[in-house]
Symmetry: C2
DNA sequence: GAGAATTAGGTTATAATGTTGCAATTCTAC
DNA sequence: GTAGAATTGCAACATTATAACCTAATTCTC
């Protein structure tokens, strides 16, 4: 729930970038300037962010800013698990704990707009339970919840 | 898993429409010709169906077929829980067990394209578990899984 | 049953989101 | 340093969804 509460924002971004670099080195892929900048922007917004919101932000930095540029960067980041896509919002958000492939899951507060990643272990367990019960073989999954977060539910 | 296996298709559609009529009467809303036809088409396709796929199908029946017509009908059907929206596919599919509001959840086979609704009770339980653990209040939820269904995973 | 209020549908245009195809450039490995 | 691969630039286009405004149908109230 860390990201539903106030916190040191710059720190978030910096560590996210550092982790990204590590992951990219490990996987032998390139964190190019556009890709890095897109990742920074996604973390900077710190809320689910649409691809088209990133375009002007990229342009402001002197980067090329046509849709394919952003989508290619986002696809790359999705691919190696540095961000997630929240399809009910057509939006993207930084991954809390990149490194391995894990199921996507978010709670999205309808009041403040923040999104908190769901505990991967529980998602994994539930997915396994469903595989069992339904006799299927799960390849990917995404769970999206909306409602009021711990902070907003206590507001007047 | 009923709808991942061969079955009497016309029967599906007929019962879906009958249930829809009941639900609409109960809720005091109108199942107008366009709405009914859209629901029939969604069931007829029997796979997640995009709004724009419905347009020519509606046109063939002599109905008006502009995007707003279809979206209005789909919104109505969503509202009263007769269909679900699968946002990772931008598609719609008939609800197995309409009547009450319940969490949306589907397993989508990447091979045959069929979608099976997840057991609502388990979704409900998992959602409650997450509410507890995360201290949030859930208003809606949608779980979308992909992979191989029981039939397709046994194919060569 | 007349008239007001509500709900539903028709029509046109446009917004928002995402993709394709190809040429130019940059990087990597040898 | 050169061939091949990966990345980016660019222009056009495809898909999905909504806004705005008006007309028609239905329901409600008296």
């Amino acid at each position: 729930m860390a990201n539903l509460h106030p916190h040191n924002h710059d720190h978030c971004i910096r560590t996210a970038i550092q982790r990204a670099q590590t992951v990219c080195e490990q996987q032998g892929v390139r964190l190019t300037p556009v890709r890095r900048r897109v990742l920074e922007l996604v973390w900077q917004n710190h809320k689910p962010t649409g691809a088209y919101e990133l375009l002007p932000q990229l342009a402001a930095d002197g980067f090329n800013s046509a849709p394919p540029t952003v989508y290619r960067a986002l696809d790359f980041l999705l691919e190696i698990g540095l961000i997630h896509r929240i399809s009910s919002l057509n939006a993207f958000i930084g991954c809390d704990h990149p490194g391995g492939q894990h199921p996507t899951g978010f709670f999205i507060c309808t009041d403040c707009g923040n999104a908190a990643e769901l505990p991967a272990a529980r998602l994994q367990a539930f997915s396994a339970e469903l595989e069992q019960v339904m006799g299927v073989q799960v390849a990917s999954s995404s769970y999206e919840l909306t409602g009021l977060c711990g902070v907003c539910r206590l507001k007047p």
